[in-house]
Every structure is written in structure tokens, then in C-alpha cells.
């Protein structure tokens, strides 16, 4: 194109030299514009930070939860809400739905009604993020018989923690439960209590704010329970949440209690007869 004969552009251009004949911004004007954007951006981010500070109490809550197992309504109309640093103890007789509630919280079981929320936002919006912030200890210990204890733990820590140095984390986790001597022992040689401790070490090896523990004290001796209590207190002091079901007494500082017996649906004689058949 010949110089000087460029067609007039319908949109403003940033020119390198201030030429009053051509439409567009001078560098000065452009700088002002960008400055405005920057100020707006800084305002925006700082407001976000401020809101985050206001919001620092993270909450995990469930609203109107009910659960159906094998055509039986286990509990209904259950609400709970805990904040960072809280511990929630689930109590209730056998079959009252403690494990089911923990599985619902973990997202393994879909509640028949109601929903879980994290900071007020439904967990179902981003189930992967929810799974990333929780650790679940169930009835099974998930220890592979042919892998050593540290290999077992390192695998789970690696899946959860991302880029962290897994080996150091595993060592630390084994120290918490004072089982570093088991690190190189294959899973098949462990006793029930040692397996349980290895399984608990798994949750210490990768950080996650929510711990869902289903009968964590099963098969543990007194000394190990004391270590677990210490670890739970430390987790809560760091802003973590603990939800556990237990028949044993686990010493926790001012825990909240949720009695599932209040939410169970009594069987009518007809249903009970059906179940016996």
C-alpha cells in the first residue's frame, strides 16, 4: 500500500507518534487507559482478598440429607454444619447410618434428598475439588499385601498431594504413629492394628482439610489411640475439620455431637417383616 493513502480505520489505533491528522490514541492517552485498567484490576483483586478474609471460616454443611440403603430409609431430614477447627462425632446404635452418612459426606453415596455444601456452595458443582479436600478412612485398610508400608502410603500420598516430596511426607507420617520400623515391611506381614496404623498414616502424608474417619480406633492399642488423638488435635489447630464415628471414647476438645438415632426412621412392623423375609 502506498504511504499516506491508508484508508481511514473505523476503530481507534494506537499510533507511535502523536499525529493529530490520524484518528487514534497518543501514547499518553493509551497509558492513561491502561492505568485505569490497572487500578480497576487492583481494586478488584483486593476486594476479592478482603472477601476471602471475611470468609475465613470455611464451613462444611449438609442440608436435609436422607439416605436409602436396600429400599430402607436409613435417616432423613439430617442437617449438620461444621467450621474450620471443629470436630463432629457421630454417635448412634448399630445400623443407624453412621457409616452411610460418612460415605454420603465423602461423595461415595448419593443422598436420596438434600445436598452438601462447602462455604455455602453445593459440593456437586465440582465433585473433583471436593474429593481433593477430604481424606476418608473406611472399614477396609486398603493395604496391598505385596507392597511395603511406605510404598502403600507413598502411592496414596502421591495421588492426593501433587508435587510434594512423597518420601519425606511418608517418613513424617510414619513418625506420627511411631511406626517407622514398619516402613520396609510388606503389607502381608502386618497385624490388624499395624494395618490400621498404616492406613491412618496415609491421611497424615498428604494434607487435606476434611478428615472423615469411620471407626478409626478399631484394632488400635491405647498408645496408638493417644497418638491419633494428638494428631487430630494438631489437625484441628491447623484449621482442619474432623468428622468421626466411634464406639470408643476418643478424647477431643469440645466436639460437636450428632446423634443419628434422632434422624432414623423407625421400621413399621410390615417393613420389618419384609426384611426378615
Amino acid at each position: 500500500m502506498e504511504p499516506g493513502r491508508s484508508p481511514p480505520l473505523p476503530y481507534p489505533l494506537i499510533t507511535t507518534d502523536a499525529d493529530p491528522q490520524r484518528p487514534g490514541f497518543s501514547p499518553n492517552q493509551a497509558a492513561t487507559y491502561f492505568g485505569c485498567f490497572r487500578v480497576a484490576f487492583i481494586c478488584y483483586t483486593s476486594t476479592q482478598d478482603f472477601l476471602r478474609v471475611l470468609n475465613f471460616m470455611t464451613t462444611f454443611s449438609g442440608h436435609d440429607l436422607s439416605c436409602i440403603r436396600g429400599e430402607r430409609l436409613v435417616f432423613q431430614g439430617l442437617n449438620f454444619a461444621i467450621e474450620a477447627g471443629d470436630a463432629l462425632v457421630l454417635v448412634g446404635p448399630n445400623g443407624s447410618g453412621k457409616s452411610s452418612l460418612l460415605r454420603v459426606m465423602a461423595g461415595l453415596l448419593k443422598p436420596a434428598t438434600g445436598q452438601l455444601a462447602w462455604n455455602g456452595e453445593p459440593v456437586n458443582d465440582d465433585p473433583e475439588e471436593h474429593r481433593g479436600r477430604l481424606h476418608y478412612v473406611g472399614h477396609h485398610d486398603a493395604i496391598k499385601p505385596v507392597l511395603t508400608v511406605s510404598e502403600n502410603i507413598a502411592f496414596w500420598a502421591g495421588l492426593h498431594a501433587g508435587e510434594n516430596d512423597a518420601e519425606v511426607a511418608v517418613e513424617k507420617a510414619l513418625d506420627i504413629l511411631s511406626i517407622p520400623h514398619l516402613a520396609e515391611i510388606p503389607g502381608r506381614f502386618l497385624s490388624a492394628g499395624q494395618k490400621r496404623r498404616a492406613n491412618l498414616a496415609r491421611i497424615f502424608a498428604a494434607p487435606a482439610p476434611v478428615w472423615l474417619l469411620d471407626e478409626p480406633t478399631t484394632a488400635l492399642d491405647k498408645a496408638s489411640i493417644a497418638k491419633l488423638e494428638e494428631a487430630l488435635a494438631e489437625h484441628r489447630a491447623g484449621g482442619g475439620m474432623v468428622i468421626l464415628s466411634t464406639h470408643m471414647d476418643v478424647a477431643l476438645e469440645n466436639p460437636k455431637t450428632l446423634d443419628l438415632a434422632e434422624f432414623t426412621v423407625p421400621l413399621t412392623p410390615l417393613e420389618a417383616g419384609d426384611m426378615m423375609l
Binding site: G132, D141, A142, K144, V146, E151, L159
Partner: protein, 222 residues
């Protein structure tokens, strides 16, 4: 996500390596079924050469199915599957990793053993190369399709029988085009079409099977 994928493959390979016997047994089963045929149909070389491709493919099918039952079963029983479903990685990615490990420990040894069987069955040497390529394209599809069945049978009694009922009909297309490719190569025809279809089946099952298997696993965990 990639990290979780490779971690899972490494763990499953390590498990397979330490348990050892599983993948060797699969290969032995494959070899033995193929070796039984000369006894059954008689040592007539022409007949053996005629059925060689079919025998090898059916043997590979059955052998890969034999090991599929254990794909998720062990993890399901010891609670690992729950924890795998609770990691921040999508379950489909974990399934894909497990299928990769399964193929590496069963499909790959089968492919390595197959030329030996081809020689035993007096297959024409024109078919060797195509057979290897067809198995390379076909056996991953077998593992992928099988993973859906393996996820569906969790918690069922006599899962192994149920698995074969579910999965074998779905293996038929792979079998037809796998055998077709080898036969075409031996007859001196063009084999591209069959290989393309095998590749197509693989590419279709690669994203779809993990999604299906992950859905079935979530169902099994409820």
C-alpha cells in the same frame, strides 16, 4: 492428572511383578489352548494352517478375559477402589491407567508369544507381520472393552462366568477383523481395510470404555 495416571500404572505393574504368577499363567493358558488344537483336529498341516489365525485370536481373546476378572476385584475387596474413587483425579483416568497396566502385563506377553504359536500351527509366514500388527491394534481394545465388564461384575457371585457372557459378544468385531486381516495377508490381498477398522475400534473404545467402566465402578461402590 498425568501424574496420577503414571503413578497408578507404576503401582499396578509393581503389583503384577511381585505377584508374578498371574501374567505368566495367562501366557501359559494361551500357549496351551493353541497347542491343544493339533491334538483335537489331527496333525494335518493344511488344516492347521487354515485355522491358525482363528485359533491364535480366539486363544488371545480367552486369555485376556481370564485375567480381566481380577482387574478391579482385588482393589474392590481391600477397599482400595473406594480410595481410588475419592482421589481428585477423575475415575476414568484411573481406569485407563489400570487398563494400560493390564494390557502391559497380559496383552503384550501374548503378542510376544504369538509368533511361536504361529510356527507351531504351520501358519504361512506371509501372515506373521500382519498378525503382530493386528494383535497390537486389537488386544488393547480387548482390555478396554473388558474393563466395562470387569467393573459391572463387582460384587456379583460367580463373576467370572458372568464376565464372559457380558464381554465375549462384544469381542466379536475385533475377532472378525483380526482374523480377516491375517487371512487376507496370507491370501495375498490388501489388508489395510481390516487394520483400519481394528484401529477405529481401538480409537472408539479408548475414550468410551473408561467412561463406562468408571460409571459402573461408582455404581458398585454405592
Amino acid at each position: 492428572m498425568m501424574r496420577a495416571f503414571f503413578l497408578t500404572i507404576r503401582r499396578d505393574l509393581r503389583l503384577a511383578l511381585r505377584q508374578g504368577a498371574d501374567s505368566i499363567m495367562v501366557v501359559m493358558f494361551f500357549v496351551l489352548t493353541a497347542v491343544l488344537f493339533p491334538f483335537g483336529v489331527g496333525p494335518e498341516l493344511n488344516i492347521l494352517a487354515r485355522i491358525a489365525a482363528g485359533v491364535i485370536w480366539v486363544g488371545a481373546l480367552l486369555a485376556s478375559m481370564l485375567s480381566l476378572e481380577r482387574l478391579f476385584q482385588a482393589d474392590y475387596e481391600d477397599g482400595s477402589l473406594e480410595l481410588l474413587a475419592l482421589t481428585p483425579t477423575p475415575l476414568g483416568v484411573i481406569v485407563l491407567a489400570k487398563v494400560c497396566a493390564h494390557w502391559l502385563t497380559t496383552g503384550l506377553p501374548l503378542i510376544i508369544a504369538s509368533p511361536l504359536l504361529a510356527v507351531l500351527l504351520n501358519m504361512s509366514s506371509d501372515g506373521f507381520g500382519v498378525m503382530l500388527i493386528a494383535l497390537l491394534l486389537g488386544t488393547p481394545s480387548l482390555s478396554l472393552i473388558g474393563s466395562i465388564g470387569a467393573a459391572l461384575i463387582l460384587g456379583a457371585r460367580r463373576g467370572g462366568v458372568l464376565l464372559s457372557l457380558l464381554v465375549l459378544p462384544l469381542y466379536v468385531p475385533v475377532l472378525i477383523f483380526g482374523v480377516g486381516a491375517v487371512d487376507a495377508a496370507i491370501g495375498g490381498f490388501e489388508v489395510k481395510a481390516q487394520l483400519f477398522i481394528l484401529g477405529g475400534i481401538f480409537l472408539a473404545t479408548l475414550p468410551l470404555a473408561p467412561i463406562g467402566a468408571a460409571a459402573a465402578l461408582r455404581q458398585a461402590l454405592e
